[in-house]
C-alpha cells in the first residue's frame, strides 16, 4: 500500500468513526463528567404544537443549572417562578436564550411563556422538580394557602358572580388625600390585614357612622386613598401584570385586552371602580393564585410568590382608584 493510500484510509476512519465517537463521547460522557453545570435544552413551541419540550425537568437543589430555550415557531418569552426573578423577555423564532441559576430549596417551580404567543398561550408551562440530593424521593408539596383556606372557612365562594354598583363619581385617591386629615378613620381600617379581608364598601359603612357631614362620594375618595396607603406594588409588578394579565384584562384594566374575545367568560374590568368597590382583596388574591373555574382565568399560584400576588392585587386597586397613576 502506498503512503497516500494509507493516509487516505486513516483519514476515512477518522471521519467515519473518530468524528462521531469524539463528538458524542465528549458531549454525553466527558462533558457531564467534567463540569458540574447541567444544561437543559428546552424547545418552545406554541401550546397547540406541544408547548415546552420537555415539559418536566428534574434538577438537584444547590447545583447550578442552565436552561437553554429555543423558540421553534413564534416569539416566546420565558420566566421561571415563583420568586426566582429569572426571565428572558423575548426569544424570536429560531433564536435561543439561556437562564443559569441555582435552586436553593427543593420544591416545584414553573417555567412559563410571558409573551402572548397563541390563544392557548397561558397553557404554555413546564415544571422543574428540584429535589434534595440527600433525599431525592421526597418532593416537597405545595403547602396550602392560608388566605384561600381562610376564605373557604368563612364560607366565601371565590367563583361567585360579582356584580358591582354603578358609581356616579369615580373615587379618587388623590382627592381622598386632601380629606384624610379631617375625616375620622378607625385605626383598624388603616391596617393591611383588615383591608385585605374587607371590601372598600364595608369600609364605607364604618366611615359613614362617624363622618355624617361628609358625602358618600367624599368618603369613597378617602377610602381610595386608604387602599393606596399600604400598596406593595412596584415597577416589576406592572411588568408582571402586563406580561401575564393584560392580554385579557387590558393594560389599563379595561377588560378588553387583545385576547379578551377568546375567553369563556368576560374578563373582569379593574378600572371600573363600581365593580372593584365591593370586591375583597383576598378574593382577588385567591382568583389569581387558584384560577377561575370555567372562566379561562388560569392559575398563577405556581408562577408567583404570595408576595408577588399581593403586589398584583395592590396594582389592581391602583388601576381602579387612580388610573392616572398607572402611567
Amino acid at each position: 500500500m502506498t503512503f497516500r493510500e494509507a493516509a487516505a484510509r486513516t483519514i476515512l476512519v477518522v471521519i467515519l468513526l473518530g468524528l462521531p465517537i469524539g463528538i458524542l463521547g465528549y458531549r454525553y460522557v466527558l462533558q457531564p463528567f467534567l463540569s458540574p453545570e447541567t444544561t437543559f435544552e428546552v424547545q418552545a413551541y406554541a401550546p397547540e404544537s406541544g408547548g415546552f419540550s420537555p415539559a418536566v425537568i428534574q434538577v438537584e437543589a444547590g447545583k447550578e443549572v442552565t436552561l437553554r430555550f429555543t423558540s421553534m415557531d413564534v416569539t416566546h418569552g420565558v420566566a421561571i417562578g415563583p420568586g426566582l426573578d429569572a426571565a428572558i423577555d423575548h426569544i424570536d423564532p429560531g433564536e435561543q436564550g439561556e437562564i443559569t441559576l441555582t435552586f436553593d430549596k427543593p420544591g416545584t417551580y414553573t417555567y412559563y411563556c410571558t409573551t402572548w404567543c397563541s390563544a392557548d398561550h397561558w397553557r404554555m408551562r413546564g415544571i422543574i422538580e428540584v429535589r434534595d440530593p440527600v433525599n431525592p424521593d421526597l418532593l416537597p408539596q405545595v403547602q396550602s394557602d392560608p388566605v384561600i383556606e381562610g376564605l373557604l372557612e368563612e364560607g366565601i365562594d371565590i367563583d361567585a358572580d360579582h356584580e358591582g354598583e354603578a358609581l356616579a363619581i369615580a373615587p379618587s385617591a388623590a382627592r381622598g388625600g386632601d380629606l384624610i386629615e379631617s375625616v375620622i378613620v378607625p385605626d383598624e381600617v388603616r391596617q393591611v390585614d383588615w383591608q385585605r379581608t374587607h371590601s372598600p364598601a364595608e369600609a364605607l359603612t364604618i366611615l359613614q357612622t362617624q363622618n355624617a357631614s361628609y358625602s358618600d362620594a367624599e368618603l369613597r375618595d378617602v377610602i381610595a386613598y386608604l387602599w393606596m396607603l399600604n400598596t406593595t406594588s412596584t415597577v416589576d409588578t406592572i411588568q408582571t401584570y402586563n406580561q401575564n394579565c393584560a392580554a385579557c384584562h387590558g393594560e389599563s384594566g379595561n377588560g378588553a385586552g387583545p385576547a379578551a374575545y377568546l375567553t369563556a367568560d368576560v374578563p373582569a374590568v379593574f378600572d371600573d371602580p363600581g365593580y372593584m368597590f365591593s370586591m375583597r382583596a383576598d378574593v382577588l388574591y385567591a382568583k389569581i393564585r387558584r384560577g377561575g373555574m370555567g372562566t379561562d382565568m388560569p392559575n398563577f399560584g405556581t408562577l408567583f410568590t404570595r408576595e408577588e400576588t399581593w403586589a398584583l392585587v395592590d396594582y389592581l386597586w391602583l388601576l381602579a382608584f387612580e388610573p392616572t397613576l398607572n402611567e
Binding site: R4, L12, M72
Partner: protein, 461 residues
C-alpha cells in the same frame, strides 16, 4: 458540427491544472473533505438542536451547499459537484477496494445488469418529486434531513454492491438528475480533442481502464461525448487516455441543448418538473398564501394530501399540458413537417436555461437573506452553546437585501433571452430557414415570456 474554434482547452492553457486533475489524489482528497462535512451534517442533524437555523446540518446543506451548487457550480462548472460529492464515495471506494491508487484490475461488485427500462432519468424524476413533496419538512427539520441524506449514502453503497460504476449517480440520485440537465448550459465540458483519434484507437482505454485509472465510472464513451448531462467530470478518462486526447473545454453557455438527436422524453420531463417546482416553491414560500404553506408543512394529513395532489397535477400535467398547447401551435406553424412528439420534446429543452435561471433567482433570495447563519452554526454546529471560532453569537444579517430584486430580475431576463435563443436554434435545426424558424419559435417564446412574468411577479411582488 459544433464550432470548435470557440472552445478553449483549459488543460493545455494551464498545465498545472492538468497535473492536478490527472493526479489520483485530487478527487478522493476533495471527497474526503466533503465526506467530513457530510458526517458533521448527519451528526448535527441527528443529535443537534431541532431549531433549523441553529443547526449546522440544515444551514450547511440547504443554504451553503445548495447556494453554492445552484448559483455557482451548476451554471459555471456543470457536474463538477458530482466529482467531489461524498454520497457515492463509500460505494466507489468499496468497489475499487482502494481510495486513491488503482489496485484491482476489475471493480468488485456482484456484477448485476442495471435494468434497461431504468437506463434513463425517470427514477430521478420521481425521486426528485418525492423529495420535493416533503421539502418544507425536510428543509426545516434537521433530523429529517439527516435521515434523508443517510438513506442516500446507504442506497449508494447498496447499489454499488450489486452494480458496477456510478449507477446511483447516473440513474437514481434525485440531485444528480437535475445537475445533469442543467449542466448542459454550463461553459465547462469534458470532451476529446479529436474524435477521429478515438475512432482508430482500438483498445479504448477510457472505457476499459488501464493501470492509470478506471474505465469511465459514468459509463460514457468520451470519444462520442457531445453533452455534459452524463459525464460526471471525474477525470478518469484524463488519467487513462494514452493518446492525450481529453480536453476540459471552456465554451459558450448552453451548447449541449441543441444536440437534437439526444433529446428524450425523460429529460424533457425533468425540465418541466424542475421549472414547475421552482414555481411551486416560489408560490408556497414567497407567496402571500399562508394556508398553502401550512398545508405544505403537513399541518394535517388531509391538508397535505390536497397539497400533494395539487402539486403533482401542476408539475406533471398542467405545466407540460400548457406547454403542449404552445408546442402544438409551433407544430401547426411548421405545417406538421415533423412529428408533434418531437417538436414537444425538442422545445422542452428551451426550458432548461429558464428553469436554471428561476432556481438561481429563487435561491438568491433565501441564500443572501439567510447566509449569515452559516457563521454562527460554524462555531456552534449542534446548538449546544459551543463557540469554536468565536462566531457563535454572530448576528443574522441579510446580505444585500436591496440588491436581491435587481439580481433576480437580471437572472430571469438572462434566462429568458438564453431560452429564446435556444428556441431559435432548435427551430432552425427543425425547419432550416431563418424566417420560418422565427415563426415556429414564436409560440414557445411566448410561453417563456409568460413564465418569466409569473416569476417576476412572485419575486418582485
Amino acid at each position: 458540427m459544433l464550432n470548435q474554434k470557440r472552445h478553449v482547452d483549459l488543460l493545455t492553457a494551464f498545465p498545472i491544472l492538468k497535473r492536478l486533475l490527472r493526479s489520483r489524489s485530487f478527487q478522493p482528497g476533495m471527497m474526503l473533505l466533503t465526506l467530513f462535512v457530510f458526517t458533521l451534517v448527519i451528526l448535527t442533524g441527528l443529535f443537534g438542536t431541532p431549531a433549523g437555523s441553529r443547526n449546522f446540518g440544515i444551514i450547511f446543506v440547504w443554504i451553503v451547499w445548495w447556494g453554492l451548487l445552484i448559483i455557482m457550480l451548476v451554471p459555471f462548472m456543470g457536474r463538477f459537484w458530482c466529482s467531489i460529492c461524498p454520497i457515492p464515495a463509500p460505494g466507489e471506494w468499496l468497489q475499487r477496494r482502494n481510495i486513491i491508487t488503482k489496485r484491482l484490475p476489475k471493480l468488485r461488485t456482484l456484477n448485476k445488469r442495471w435494468p434497461r427500462r431504468f437506463k434513463n432519468m425517470w427514477l430521478q424524476n420521481f425521486g426528485f418529486l418525492a423529495v420535493a413533496l416533503f421539502s418544507v419538512i425536510i428543509l426545516t427539520r434537521p433530523q429529517v434531513s439527516a435521515w434523508l441524506l443517510l438513506s442516500f449514502i446507504m442506497l449508494g453503497v447498496v447499489l454499488s454492491v450489486f452494480y458496477k460504476n456510478r449507477v446511483f449517480c447516473r440513474y437514481v440520485c434525485p440531485v444528480g438528475g437535475f445537475i445533469g440537465l442543467y449542466s448542459m448550459t454550463s461553459p465547462l465540458e469534458v470532451r476529446v480533442n479529436d474524435p477521429s483519434v478515438c475512432l482508430t484507437h482500438t483498445s479504448k482505454d477510457c472505457v476499459t481502464g488501464n493501470e492509470y485509472g478506471y474505465g469511465c465510472p459514468w459509463m460514457v464513451y468520451p470519444g462520442r461525448l457531445d453533452r455534459n448531462i452524463d459525464c460526471g467530470m471525474c477525470m478518469e478518462c484524463l488519467k487513462t487516455c494514452p493518446k492525450n486526447n481529453i480536453a476540459l473545454n471552456l465554451r459558450p453557455f448552453g451548447t449541449d441543448l441543441t444536440v437534437q438527436k439526444a433529446h428524450k422524453l425523460d429529460e424533457a420531463y425533468k425540465a418541466f418538473i424542475m421549472l414547475a417546482c421552482a414555481m411551486v416553491y416560489s408560490i408556497v414560500l414567497l407567496g402571500p398564501w399562508g394556508e398553502l404553506k401550512n398545508a405544505a408543512n403537513m399541518q394535517s394529513l388531509p391538508h397535505w394530501l390536497a397539497y400533494a395532489t395539487g402539486f403533482l397535477t401542476f408539475v406533471l400535467v398542467l405545466v407540460p399540458g400548457i406547454f403542449g398547447v404552445f408546442s402544438s401551435a409551433s407544430w401547426l406553424l411548421m405545417k406538421r413537417s415533423l412529428p408533434l412528439r418531437k417538436v414537444f420534446i425538442d422545445f422542452a429543452y428551451t426550458l432548461v436555461p429558464m428553469g436554471l435561471a428561476a432556481w438561481v433567482a429563487f435561491s438568491l433570495g433565501f441564500v443572501l437573506i439567510n447566509g449569515s447563519y452559516a457563521l454562527s452554526v460554524l462555531s456552534d454546529p449542534f446548538g449546544w452553546g459551543w463557540n469554536l471560532f468565536g462566531t457563535a453569537e454572530a448576528p443574522w444579517v441579510p446580505a444585500a437585501p436591496q440588491l436581491i430584486a435587481f439580481l433576480q430580475t437580471g437572472v430571469l431576463v438572462a434566462g429568458l433571452l438564453f431560452s429564446v435563443q435556444t428556441g431559435y436554434k432548435i427551430a432552425r435545426e427543425q425547419v432550416g430557414r431563418h424566417r420560418k424558424a422565427f415563426t415556429v419559435m414564436l409560440p414557445n417564446s411566448f410561453f417563456l415570456t409568460l413564465v418569466t412574468v409569473v416569476f417576476m411577479w412572485l419575486y418582485l411582488g
